[in-house]
Symmetry: C3
Subunit: 266 residues, 3 copies
């Protein structure tokens, strides 16, 4: 496929520095903030019910991540999400650990019921659970799903009327009709905490500057994956890899992305 859209989109991101409002977990929140900056966005984290909607009202996209969810946070996610929907800005949902506990599964369903989600992003197990497939999630890791992930993702995207992204060795991004496969990435990305959360944040950054969530999400995954490939070349282990991952994404140019993105239509 042509890579022109990626060059233009990434250039726009870097120029406009979109504000990405996060309501996210306290484990990887710092990574989400820094990866947002490295991608070209401006992060803000605000989860108090007193200000969640007001912060969403000035943001360019909203990222909801249930990694350490509690009841109060769900309320703020609904408030922020409703404001985002009203304003028509993209909402990214990362259902971290859906399937591992009933609470996570049910709260994911509730967010999908009450909000219009633009991009639902998870690993194969999480997406499988949301789709009602037989899937196993242990903690926050996918331990397999029965059935073809692409078919499941397509079906779920059609049913929900949104874009579904499945992270993995090959990432899948689909709105039920169009489907893109992203081949960028490196196994070291699975050896640190937070890569999935970071992917959701970068997706929030790219979707903020695009009206095509499938392309924007694929571009986000390609950018992060490409940075991962470059980081792996200089890393001595998982944490020096992580430091380099941020550096490489920050140093990535729109031209680098266009040249290095390995995205194809399914």
């Amino acid at each position: 496929m042509t890579t022109k859209p990626y060059t233009d989109l990434f250039a726009r991101v870097r120029e406009n520095r979109p504000l990405v409002h996060h309501i996210t977990n306290y484990v990887t929140v710092n990574d989400c903030a820094n990866i947002t900056l490295c991608a070209g966005g401006a992060p803000v984290m605000a989860d108090a019910p007193e200000e969640a909607a007001e912060m969403a009202a000035i943001a360019s996209s909203l990222v909801l991540n249930i990694g350490t969810l509690n009841a109060a946070q769900i309320g703020s996610m609904i408030l922020a999400g409703q404001m985002a929907n009203e304003r028509g800005i993209p909402v990214i949902l990362d259902p971290v650990g859906a399937g591992a506990t009933r609470f996570r599964t049910e709260m994911t369903r509730r967010l999908l019921d009450e909000l219009e989600i633009t991009v639902l992003k998870g690993n194969a197990g999480e997406i499988g659970v949301v789709a009602g497939a037989e899937a196993t999630v242990r903690g926050v890791d996918s331990h397999g799903v029965s059935g073809d992930p692409l078919t499941i993702a397509r079906g779920l995207a059609t049913a929900l009327g949104c874009t579904v992204a499945v992270s993995g060795a090959m990432d899948i991004v689909t709105d039920g009709k169009k489907a893109l496969l992203v081949e960028n990435g490196h196994p070291l990305m699975g050896r640190i905490s937070g890569t999935g959360c970071m992917a959701a944040s970068v997706t929030g950054v790219f979707c903020a500057e695009s009206r095509d969530p499938v392309t924007a999400t694929a571009a986000a995954f390609a950018a992060l994956g490409l940075a991962g490939e470059r980081a792996a070349a200089v890393a001595h282990g998982p944490l020096s890899f992580k430091v380099a991952l941020f550096d490489e994404l920050a140093n990535l140019t729109p031209q680098d992305l266009a040249a290095g993105a390995r995205v194809r239509t399914a």
Copy 2:
């Protein structure tokens, strides 16, 4: 100006290792802990209402940061702040995002009303909002203030009876009468999350060992800025810069600070 006070103050910090109690946000809290250690202090984070005052009772300074404020945390800030005031230890307030939402603006006012703040530290937008100037804060970033930051800072310091520090390419520190300008720093400091929070923590460390908050705050900003200059020389991108920033601050000697501080009277 003479740099003798910086040498002495920094040497005292390193010798006494002051305990700095933080009630802060969950985004950059780890950075605050580590930068406190690198500066020469000992960090402790405790925000439960059951222990906030008791922890402040054994600390040498208190840092309040509203980056991810919620109602419960405000209560603990008041309790810890009252204890700090009673004991006469310095209280640093970082009104992160004041102006971005009414909640943050109002809670900043409440903290300023109910507590004696020693140093109010923010970016130009945040300080402008607190001062009642026309200022824009988008998320946690200053997007400009109308009027001269030094004049605004002086006026606010006089009105509040405290020291006001405005972070920026050139930092301003004033108690309304004396005003110091700190020129140390590097643009990469603005490309990672948490530099502002770290500056507040280092200010907490230095103020713990000084009776002159203007000098101590300028010394803190100069030390962090100088570490940033040195870190930039070895960095490959924002996150390797961040790692080096901590290393360089830890390796900075009182003599280095005295020799490298670029502080002048306004």
Copy 3:
């Protein structure tokens, strides 16, 4: 002593990738997640009362850390701990800052009363406080204990019927009868935030695959300490040391551990 148990245990950890459920503080939680991965485990953090027990029900061990405790979290710790006890999986308790405030001391006692703790891990001050010895804890740092730490640890282990681990320049691990001394480590480990928390996480990983908590805890301390020794050789300061600490633990082989562990019977 023979190092064969370490080789076997570490190999088993790497093969089985045990899920370690953490209810921990928001300061070092990311470090706990990444060190768990580097040691060979899979971390999950979940502290909502709605899911704490259910997550513990699928985990291989549970780590409780009171570094930024609040009342809600205590309730979840009890729920998760009861499930862990019912299932017979190891529970590691890190009473961060016990002795610094009454809240921390009392909550530590409550957790010890209501749960069967497998390994109680703290610095000399914290363990001294729990044992009822004269001990001083300032913030989260031990400021000395009167009496011999080994004697205190032995007595406490016998009284509680669990394994007690005291971190320090020489770590002590004892169940009241057997006592092991671990000499691995490096002073730089005390210059970053979170080393103690990480030690508890690695202990959680190793204990998940062992029925001998004394040996497993000593192996965990030796592994982390050995990684620290190697990291110190390449570090330029505390934070590059921290990055290298994770890398080195991830790169450590069971054979490296067996060869480098400096553990002896007291």
